[in-house]
């Protein structure tokens, strides 16, 4: 039995509806058509699908399904289940969290064709990798699929529901899974009170895999004998700035020169040491991941990598060029207004609080006064969404595939933003730029395989966002996982990152469950 801790607190609820938030076991129980590795630029791995192809203009997707797959109640899996699932999402806007807009038809038992009104190459990973296929013969009689708890899930995944208790749920191996019965017979997911409890449980050997910070990461392998640590750099830590005065943003950070000056004045090496135990790594101002997306990073950038050491002279030059003058207190001012900003963070996020304090010290040296403000998570997320802030320390999340396009479309596209005062989608900086919008629109029409055609668009986006800098890049934060390498083999490693190693990440976790082998120790 593999025991994992995902960071979940509070009681576990019975919920095997893969379309609802917080459904505990979508990955191991239900399966998507393909597995997209977000940690490495791998080709999609077949799951319920065998292969897929787009037509030339990206309006039609043809999928060939795996043959001989059976649902856990013994019924055969066919193209009708796939069409039913896609239609279910198209009909129920409340379930359609992936924004699916196609029209699916079954060509025969193993072939599905999905038509789109416009070129939709970039919707592929969501559709193929993040939509979990449900059985038509069970779900057609579900009265309200939005609130159904699906107590006895019928699915195709490598694991079946075993039992759910308020403090743990367990899944057991599916003996008739198309890929063969997994070697790990049971997986139990615990609910504990937080990361501290998780670290205590690892020390006691009660948990085999935990994703989340542990004290003294650098020496964790000595502190927890038999355990190993893997740090995967994916979260790009940034300062969100409410950047767009046209949409109602107020404050000095609406001036790009101020954002640039902050970018150069930050001492990233010191920040990493003080706040993150040196577990973070460099970041690119293109906001493409340095390891994973190396091939996409434009040669036209001023810096491919954000400077780890501060360049105060450069910051000074930028500010003075923009009409700022240093006052008697050492703080810059323009038109009689001192250059002071508030930086919001969540009380209790100790690493960010340390980072924010270090930042305000560093920026003070460069003549920028930054006051830290701690909020409850609720207030913080509300302020961020409504644009009621000057600076916020935050991290940008990645899309459903190893492709920087998603970061650009989520955080820089003008269709995911809103005026200040209304909740924005994902673009909380309120950044709008016609060139970036045009490039995002163009990328939607280009087959992701055609990298030569995509690069000019990436060049445009990356050079624009490096100048405008609505999100000021700080560091790339590592996701820390601690796992028991004595009891189990087959974990993803830096050399073989076959899935994103986070216990909470579905369906990556089920890919890992499937590959692990008990050593018998």
């Amino acid at each position: 039995m593999l025991v994992i801790y995902t960071g979940a607190t509070g009681d576990m609820q019975v919920n095997f509806n893969p379309f609802t938030p917080g459904s505990p076991s979508t990955g191991p129980i239900y399966e998507p058509l393909f597995f997209y590795n977000t940690a490495r630029a791998d080709p999609p791995q077949p799951r319920l699908g065998q292969k897929f192809s787009w037509n030339a203009d990206g309006t039609q997707l043809s999928i060939t399904l795996r043959q001989g797959v059976k649902w856990s109640d013994g019924q055969p899996f066919t193209s009708r289940d796939v069409v039913f699932t896609l239609d279910l999402l198209a009909k129920n806007k409340a379930l359609n969290t992936t924004g699916y807009r196609g029209k699916a038809t079954a060509v025969d038992d193993t072939h599905v064709s999905v038509k789109f009104d416009e070129p939709s190459f970039v919707d592929g990973p969501q559709l193929l990798g993040r939509i979990y296929i449900v059985p038509e013969h069970v779900w057609k009689s579900v009265a309200d699929p939005t609130t159904a708890q699906m107590r006895n899930p019928v699915a195709t995944g490598p694991y079946l529901e075993d039992d759910v208790k308020p403090q743990a749920y367990t899944v057991k191996a599916n003996p008739s899974h198309w890929g063969g019965e997994p070697a790990i017979k049971r997986v139990r997911v615990l609910s504990l009170s937080g990361n501290q409890a998780g670290a205590a449980a690892i020390r006691a050997g009660q948990i085999d895999w935990q994703t989340g910070p542990v004290p003294n990461v650098k020496n964790a392998e000595q502190a927890y004998p038999g355990y190993k640590v893997i740090i995967t750099p994916v979260n790009q830590m940034v300062l969100d700035t409410c950047s767009n005065p046209d949409l109602g943003c107020k404050g000095p950070q609406t001036d790009p020169a101020v954002r640039q000056a902050i970018y150069y004045a930050v001492n990233r090496t010191q920040l990493n040491a003080l706040a993150f135990e040196n577990t973070s790594s460099e970041i690119s101002p293109s906001l493409a991941l340095l390891e994973r997306d190396q091939a996409f990073i434009s040669g036209r950038l001023q810096n491919k990598v954000a400077p780890m050491q501060p360049d105060e002279a450069r910051a000074q030059q930028i500010l003075e060029g923009a009409g700022y003058a240093k006052g008697a207190d050492g703080i810059y001012a323009k038109d009689g207004k001192p250059l002071q900003l508030t930086l919001k963070t969540v009380s209790g996020w100790t690493d960010y609080i340390t980072a924010v304090n270090a930042l305000s010290q560093q920026l003070k040296k460069a003549g920028i006064k930054v006051t830290a403000q701690q909020l409850s998570f609720n207030e913080w997320s509300d302020a961020r969404g409504r644009g009621d802030y000057e600076l916020i320390i935050d991290s940008l999340s990645q899309g459903p595939a190893a492709d920087p396009f998603y970061v650009y479309s989520y955080f820089y596209g003008s269709d995911t933003t809103e005026k200040v005062g209304k909740q924005a989608g994902t673009n909380v900086s309120r950044f709008t730029d016609p060139q970036v919008d045009a490039a995002i629109a163009a990328l939607k029409k280009i087959d992701p395989k055609d990298t030569a055609a995509r690069q000019p668009q990436f060049d445009t986006i990356q050079t624009r966002i490096e100048q405008a800098m609505p999100y000021i890049p700080l560091l790339t934060q590592g996701t820390i996982s601690v796992y028991n390498a004595t009891k189990f083999t087959g974990w993803p490693t830096k050399e073989d990152l076959y899935a994103f190693p986070a216990a909470w990440q579905s369906p990556d976790n089920s890919e890992i469950f499937r590959r692990l082998k008990p050593t018998g120790k």
């Binding site: 607190t9 509070g10 009681d11 609820q13 019975v14 919920n15 509806n17 609802t20 938030p21 917080g22 977000t38 806007k93 409340a94 379930l95 359609n96 969290t97 992936t98 924004g99 969501q126 939005t146 609130t147 159904a148 708890q149 039992d163 208790k165 308020p166 403090q167 743990a168 615990l190 504990l192 009170s193 409890a197 205590a200 994916v234 409850s376 998570f377 609720n378 207030e379 913080w380 997320s381 509300d382 302020a383 961020r384 969404g385 991290s395 999340s397 990645q398 899309g399 459903p400 998603y406 989520y410 269709d415 995911t416 909740q423 989608g425 994902t426 994103f500 986070a502 909470w504 990440q505």
Partner: protein
């Protein structure tokens, strides 16, 4: 009769006020459930912008109805016992979430309260009886323990008995390897896991009961009937228990009935420190996620419990002590 009607009418008005506040207060909190849900999801990797619209529809937060219509709807649903669906434990109904956590709190805090009252009253009677002896030092000792912050006491107990000595489990309500039910093994585990949280409650509340009982005891012992009993040559033990303590305990019993009402409110802090699966941790979860439905459900349960306990005490008192009813006769 008029007296009882007036009492009941008063309680109905109090209930309505509480229920209305339940509706209003959560809606004054910053943020909304969907924003919080999405912000949490973003901490953990990708969320498609389309998710916002979907979750708004799914959680029904975007009804677009005016506040007053929402209020009427809320009153109707409350009357029917339909508390809606919890956002933080979606899609579980609120009634299910409460039903799963309420017994833990009622048993833990209930038993701890009973234990603390019984011990407090017994010790108080003894200290009052033997006043002036070394037993008097129990009063400042227990009062100091009551003054110690609740969470700090809990942390000290955890540090000493769980972390250092390893006698008790660190956290949780029972051994997660067992299946909840009426099996002996599970009950034993629940009791074992409950000892430290219960001890926190008992230690921190015993002082108040002890002090109150002791003071009542002292004044009761000056009464004529106690002196008569002594003059009659009754045994000391009989005088202490049947003449003094019985009368001295009356105010404590009233206080106990009221404190039972607060059992449901639980002790949010204790449950948080011990990760106990009770209603207090659910309340915290609801507040953290702006889960209006769950908050309203829990507040309603608490309100009804407190008002109910008060009503029972009020009515009982008018029977036990007719003087409280005197107003009705004139």
């Amino acid at each position: 009769m008029l007296y009882y009607l007036r009492k009941i009418a008063f309680y109905l008005v109090a209930l309505w006020t509480a229920v209305t506040l339940n509706f209003l207060i959560p809606r004054m909190m910053p943020g909304d459930p969907v924003t919080i849900l999405l912000a949490k999801a973003q901490q953990r990797g990708g969320v498609d912008p389309a998710a916002r619209r979907a979750y708004e529809l799914m959680l029904g937060t975007d009804t677009g109805e005016p506040l007053f219509t929402q209020y009427l709807l809320y009153l109707r649903n409350m009357a029917r016992g339909d508390f809606g669906i919890s956002v933080s434990s979606f899609p579980a109904p609120v009634s299910e979430v409460i039903a799963a956590s309420l017994p833990w709190t009622v048993v833990l805090v209930g038993l701890a309260t009973v234990l603390s009252v019984l011990t407090g009253i017994t010790l108080g009677a003894l200290v009052g009886w033997r006043r002036g002896t070394w037993l008097d030092s129990l009063v400042p000792a227990t009062t100091v323990l009551s003054a110690v912050p609740y969470f700090w006491l809990a942390l000290v107990l955890v540090a000493v008995f769980s972390s250092a000595l390893g006698w008790f489990p660190l956290l949780g309500g029972y051994d997660v390897n067992l299946t909840p039910g009426w099996s002996g093994e599970f009950l034993a585990s629940a009791v074992y896991y409950g000892i430290l949280p219960a001890a926190t409650i008992v230690i921190s509340s015993i002082g108040g009961w002890l002090l109150g009982m002791r003071n009542m005891m002292v004044s009761t012992m000056a009464e004529d009937y106690v002196r008569t009993a002594v003059a009659k040559g009754l045994r000391n033990r009989r005088i202490m228990v049947w003449y003094a303590a019985r009368n001295a305990a009356l105010p404590s019993i009233a206080g106990f009935a009221i404190s039972l009402g607060f059992v449901v409110a639980g002790s949010v802090v204790t449950e948080q420190v011990f990760s106990y699966p009770g209603i207090g941790s659910k309340l915290l979860q609801a507040v953290e996620n702006n889960d209006y439905a769950l908050m309203q459900g829990i507040f309603l349960v608490i309100t009804v419990a407190v008002l109910g306990a008060n009503l029972v005490v009020d009515l009982l008192y008018s029977i036990v002590d007719p003087r409280t009813r005197a107003g009705a006769a004139t």
